[in-house]
Each structure stands twice: as C-alpha cells, then as structure tokens.
C-alpha cells in the first residue's frame, strides 16, 4: 500500500499542471479528490448523527470551492491539507445551516478513508440551484456537464464565440457557489 504522502505529491503535481491550464490533469485531480472529500464528509456527518442525505451536496460544494479558490493553494505545500480545510469549512457551514452548533477541530477530519462507494451519487442542491441561473448560462452548464460537450461545441451550437462560452461558464460556476452559500 502506498503512503498518503506519495499520493499527495502525485496529486499536487497534477494540480500544479492544472494551475497552468492543463484541463486533463485538472480533471484527474478533481476525480481523485471527490472520493477523498466524500469519505471525509460522510464520516463526519455520521459522527454528528445527522442524516447522510446531503453528503453529495457538500462534496460538490467543496469541489466548487476548490475550483474557484484554487489560487489560495500554495504550490510548495501538500495539496490534501488544503482540500481538507475547504471541506471542513463547507461541512461546518452546512451543519450550521441546519441549526447545529459545531466546533469541529480541523485536525479531526484529517484521516478519513476515501469513499468510492457512490461514484454515481447525485447532489440534490446543484440541480435545484442550477435552475436559478439565467437561461443561457443554464444551457451552457448543462451542455458541458451533463452532455459532456466542449466549450467549442457549445459555442458552435449556440452561435457564440468560444471565449464568450468560457466567460459565461465561469460566471455560472461563481453564481452556483454563491447560491450554495446563500441557500437557507
């Protein structure tokens, strides 16, 4: 079995390429992080005795924050503690929204086991919050995420420039993160 630090340096290497715009590396990092975050979230929610219904929502909110705040990762440091800190923040936010007073020691969630059990799980919130986007934004996000189209294909389909599609996608993701944060 490989040590955690080996895996972290693999992921950190991929993330460094991702930060230089390599989409393929980026997709691989996010796909590798999803089960790690899921494991953390699941074990912590279980510990608080709350339902596991929102696990995937918190995973998705965390990945969205990892994406939008990726410049706050210091490339010289390991990646997973930074991801863990974000997951911690989103977990606490989620529990607070549900009226729980929580003080999670950040180190406590350090050693959760990666959870691959539900790779097909859906987030309820993201689908609902997607509906709050503007029509055009929703079309773009849906085409790329659910249908797997590229920005160039969406641009051709909607008669937009590829750049305009990318700008709109970025704004949509920011709006989605805001909607997550402000949901009551």
């Amino acid at each position: 079995m490989r040590r955690v630090s080996d895996r972290d340096s693999d992921l950190a290497g991929l993330m460094r390429s991702a930060l230089r715009g390599d989409e393929r590396s980026y997709k691989r990092v996010l796909e590798a992080l999803a089960p790690v975050v899921r494991g953390m979230v699941r074990s912590n929610l279980a510990r608080f005795g709350t339902g596991l219904g929102e696990v995937e929502d918190i995973v998705q909110e965390t990945l969205l924050a990892v994406h939008l705040k990726r410049d706050t990762w210091d490339e010289r440091l390991p990646l997973l503690p930074w991801v863990r800190a974000i997951a911690h923040n989103k977990l606490v936010d989620n529990l607070r929204r549900r009226g729980r007073r929580v003080q999670l020691p950040i180190d406590d969630i350090a050693e959760a086991v990666a959870d691959e059990r539900v790779p097909e799980a859906s987030g309820v919130d993201a689908a609902r919050l997607l509906a709050t986007l503007k029509v055009r934004q929703r079309e773009i996000v849906t085409a790329i995420s659910i249908e797997g189209a590229s920005a160039a294909e969406v641009a051709a389909r909607l008669g937009m420039t590829e750049n305009a599609v990318r700008v709109s996608l970025h704004r949509s993701l920011q709006a989605l993160a805001r909607a997550f944060r402000d949901k009551s």
């Binding site: 930060l19 989409e23 990945l63 706050t72 990762w73 923040n89 995420s145 659910i146 990318r166």
Partner: protein, 212 residues
C-alpha cells in the same frame, strides 16, 4: 447533478486567468496609500519642524512601529486569506506592533520623571489622531477587502481584522509625519486606540464580505 458531471464543467473552466494575491493586495494598498497621502497633504500636511525632529528616537519610533507592523500584517493577511491559514501561525506577526508599542512606552517611563507622564500621554492633539487615522484608512480598507474576496479565509472576521490592521498601520505611518505629539506614551494610548477602531471595523466588515 452528478459529481462527475460537475467535474466536467469545472475542468472545462481550468483556463481562467490566475490572480496573484500578494500583487493585488500590494496594488490595492498602494492605491489606498496614494489617496491617503493626497488627503493628508490637503488637510494636515507635514509638521513644519520635521527636519529638526527626524533624528530623534521618539519620532523614529513613532514612524518605525507602524511600518514594521504594516509589513508583518501584510504577511499575516495573506496567510489568513487561505482556508488552511491558522490564527496561531500568524499570532507572532500580529503581536509585533503591540510589543513594540509596549517597549517604547517602557523606555519612555524609564527615561522621564513620573510627574510628566500624564501630560506626555494625553498630548495635545489626541482628537485629531483619533479622527485622522481611521479617515485616512478608509479607502485602503475597502480596497484590501475587495482583493481578499478572491481568497478563502478560514475565518472571514479575522482576515477582515488583519486587513483593518494593514490599512490602519499604513495611515498611522503617514499621520506620524504630521503629529506633533512625540511621546511613546501618546502612541501607546491614542495611536493604538485609533488603529484598534479600524481593526474592529475590518473584522466586522470582513465577517460579512469575506464569506465564501
């Protein structure tokens, strides 16, 4: 929406331009500092005897303490803007200013007769100090908070307070070139109160504006 589907959208957005937080924070405070200097020049201006006091340790202390605190706060603020930035890691940096202020006050107490302490501490223009430092800080604080919104602070209120410390130490350094009250006792009483007000304002604003 499935998580794999979300990841596709995130990966497609990998190419968004990077933002250098140190650079942006530096520019924000540079602009805030310029506005403060212009405002300062239009209202208060340099003290007329600046050349005469420039070599005196009390004046140098009053100028150096905000400058050193500013540099320490800059580092701390960048650290606190990250999700893994722990308060205890930046605590020494945030204590540099208070420790210097205490040391200066201690030196003053040792060097001057007790009968003069009260007069020295109260000074002549404490009111101006309390109004000038927060006023000169306002633009820098707003600019710093705007930059920090791109961050992901573990504690938004603390990151906001650090931004307040940055803005306040910058304007305290500028105000020190006008202020005729040179005693470190005056500094310890009034400058710290004025700076504390801005730190508090930054904390309150940050708690709301820096959530992510």
């Amino acid at each position: 929406m499935k998580t794999d589907e979300l990841i596709r959208a995130l990966a497609e957005d990998a190419g968004t331009p990077r933002k250098s937080m140190p650079l942006r924070l530096g520019v924000a405070l540079g602009l805030g500092g310029i506005v403060a200097v212009v405002l300062f020049a239009a209202t208060l201006g340099l003290r007329p005897d600046l050349a005469a006091v420039a070599g005196a340790w009390r004046f140098q202390f009053k100028l150096a303490t905000p400058i050193v605190s500013f540099l320490a706060a800059f580092w701390a603020c960048l650290r606190l803007a990250r999700p893994d930035g722990r308060p205890r890691d930046v605590l020494p940096a945030l204590l540099v200013g208070p420790v210097l202020a205490l040391a200066g006050a201690g030196a003053e107490l040792a060097l001057t007769p007790a009968a003069s302490w009260l007069t020295r501490a109260l000074g002549r223009y404490s009111g101006v100090c309390l109004v000038a430092i927060p006023s000169l800080s306002a633009v820098s604080l707003v600019a710093a908070l705007a930059v920090l919104r791109a961050g992901a602070p573990r504690s938004p209120a603390l990151a906001g307070a650090a931004a307040g410390l940055l803005a306040a130490t910058l304007s305290a350094g500028i105000y020190a070139t006008h202020c005729p009250d040179d005693s470190p006792l005056f500094f310890g009483l009034w400058y710290t109160t004025a700076i504390g007000t801005v730190v508090l304002a930054g904390g309150l604003a940050g708690g709301r504006a820096l959530r992510w």
